[in-house]
């Protein structure tokens, strides 16, 4: 049972070309959060609120200016074997399935690499069996056919399923999903989200669900964190945050999202 913790993390970017010394932009400001196995935490906020930077810091794609990332209470290794072990435990689904798969390689390649890198399969037969198993887990069938396809031969929803399968390949215990459905057609969003929920239950994953959609955040997560300008302005159990928002920004977000019940009431 892994616990991933972000402790008081701040990330500053230096902006060039603004005066002689440059200016700093504080993208993430003192954010702490805990991801436990089997729980889903939603990180909600508008564009530019620092949600994706949090994801990048969690994935060690960016170094925090200050603060720590802890896995099971231990600081995370930054390079070499320690980093690879960390990535066996924590994986990510990227926002844009049209950009997150290399157009040059087949679907099989995208799944084989993490399987081999994390030692989940060694012989060629093992790898092929695991690739097919992963594709079946994300309901992409017939697996043997899909595996030989190139990304441009698949639809957006299918690509995002491949991206999810890739994230599952190292058998992680924590999954970071950075707006996993925002680039998808509305009609297939629910399918992908339900798939994520099913996989979470099957593997007892801890999930960080980054989104700007409060409705799905409430439906799919246990806890909601609301971010504004790099800061967490409100946090709490999903229903409490939605039904009894404390911060005015949360109220603003709720008012902005369509709510058929409210219209009936007034």
């Amino acid at each position: 049972m892994s616990v991933l913790e972000l402790r008081d993390v701040t990330k500053e970017y230096r902006l060039r070309g603004e005066g002689l010394r440059g200016r700093t932009l504080r993208a993430v400001d003192g954010v702490s959060l805990v991801l436990e196995a089997g729980k889903t935490v939603a990180l909600v906020g508008q564009s530019g609120s620092g949600k994706s930077t949090v994801a990048k810091i969690l994935m060690q794609l960016e170094r925090p200016t200050s603060g720590q990332v802890l896995l099971d209470g231990r600081p995370v290794g930054r390079r070499g074997r320690a980093l690879r072990e960390y990535r066996s435990a924590v994986q990510m689904v990227f926002q844009d399935p049209f950009a997150s798969l290399n157009p040059f390689h087949t679907i099989a390649h995208h799944l084989e690499r993490p399987l081999r890198l994390h030692g989940r399969a060694r012989s060629a037969e093992d790898v092929e069996r695991e690739v097919h198993h992963l594709l079946e887990r994300v309901r992409l069938e017939p697996a043997a056919v899909v595996a030989q396809r190139k990304p441009h031969e698949l639809s957006g929803g299918q690509r995002q399923r491949v991206a999810i399968a890739r994230a599952l390949a190292p058998q992680p215990s924590v999954l970071v999903a950075d707006e996993p459905v925002s680039m998808l057609d509305v009609s297939i969003r629910l399918g992908v989200l339900n798939l994520l929920a099913t996989l979470q239950r099957e593997s007892d994953l801890g999930v960080l669900y980054i989104t700007h959609d409060l409705a799905t955040a409430r439906h799919f997560s246990d806890e909601i964190l609301v971010m504004l300008d790099g800061r967490v302005v409100e946090r709490g159990p999903s229903d409490r945050v939605i039904l009894d928002p404390q911060h005015e920004y949360t109220r603003l977000l709720l008012d902005a999202s369509p709510n058929p019940e409210k219209r009936l009431a007034t």
Binding site: L61, R87, A99, N102, P103, H105, R113, L117, R166, P170
Partner: protein, 321 residues
């Protein structure tokens, strides 16, 4: 209209399954590739086999300035040398220079452009500073300077100097593209998967640079052949070896134009033009194969050309094609 039902593109759109597969397997992706490969292949074959079957290109004969025919396929020069034999050896020489310069220039451009851009920071600063310095060193004047110091310029020295002065532009282009590729999500995704840096460079980024590398290579080859021809024409070519440029130099020297000896200067000039055209066609075709979007664009453009004429003469359109 009934034509829409038989339009291959409409049918293909209706059946997305395996459509790319069938097309890719059966025929050349574009007629340009076929024509370009045929031209360059024939010229390369001539350069390979020609020198083995022709006589000595330097052998002097009594029949000077003989027009084609009568023992000499392409006639003779002022001093009675066989133009066809010279052309065979010149083709080999020019191709060797083109190939060597192309490989060296693309290799250097890839090392300085791609590695610098991916590493970032000081490495990038240093590499791009170096490329910028190399970019402004002009090739022809440099060779003129070198030629005044080196008495015996071999074909390899010329190739080396041409390569050293021609890679920098390519490095800058590659740097720009790599900078955009390294921030793509699929590169981040490979890092998240735990992929090593060199593997990300070679397996994830490099294949996406192939069309660019191919076109840089082809342009480097054309540039090298033209550059060498230019150098040779002003008398600074490789000493003691035949290229298309040295042929033109001797033709110019022997007043071929004034004497009306077309058979002397047209063949090497035509070879340069044909080879350049062939390479350019291959270049366009490579772009289309590797970037499917481009191919769709070409197809759409072609459809747009065809549409108006179809409307005008819908009856004869099928027969004409």
């Amino acid at each position: 209209m009934t034509t829409t039902a038989t339009d291959p593109d409409v049918v293909a759109r209706a059946l997305p399954e395996g459509r790319g597969r069938r097309r890719r397997g059966l025929r050349l992706p574009s007629p340009k590739l076929g024509v370009g490969l045929a031209i360059c292949g024939l010229i390369a074959l001539f350069g390979l086999v020609g020198p083995l079957v022709v006589g000595d290109p330097d052998a002097v004969d009594n029949v000077g300035l003989a027009p084609p025919g009568g023992g000499y396929l392409l006639g003779t020069t002022q001093t009675g040398q066989d133009v066809f034999a010279q052309l065979a050896w010149a083709t080999r020489g020019s191709l060797v220079i083109g190939l060597v310069v192309g490989l060296l220039a693309v290799g250097l451009a890839a090392v300085f452009g791609v590695i610098g851009a991916y590493a970032g920071g000081w490495v990038d600063e240093g590499f791009s500073l170096f490329s910028n310095v190399m970019l402004v060193i002009p090739g022809l004047p440099l060779i003129i300077v070198i030629s005044s110091y080196v008495a015996d310029k071999s074909i390899w020295l010329i190739a080396l100097v041409l390569a050293l002065t021609s890679w920098a532009g390519g490095a800058r282009v590659l740097r720009g593209v790599t900078l955009s590729l390294r921030s793509r999500d699929y590169v981040s995704a490979s890092r998240v998967s735990g992929e090593r840096t060199w593997r990300i460079l070679l397996v994830e980024i490099l294949p996406n640079l192939v069309p660019l590398l191919a076109s840089l290579f082809i342009f480097a080859v054309i540039g090298a052949i033209l550059g060498e021809a230019g150098l040779a024409f002003i008398g600074l070519g490789a000493s003691g070896s035949w290229t298309w440029g040295t042929m033109l130099f001797w033709a110019g020297n022997g007043l071929a134009l004034r004497l009306g000896a077309l058979w002397w200067f047209v063949p090497p000039g035509l070879m340069i033009a044909l080879f350049g055209a062939g390479l350019a066609m291959i270049n366009f075709a490579i772009d289309e194969i590797i970037d499917p979007k481009l191919r769709l664009q070409t197809r759409a453009a072609r459809r747009r050309w065809r549409r108006p004429s179809d409307v005008g003469s819908s009856g004869g359109a099928g027969a004409r094609a």
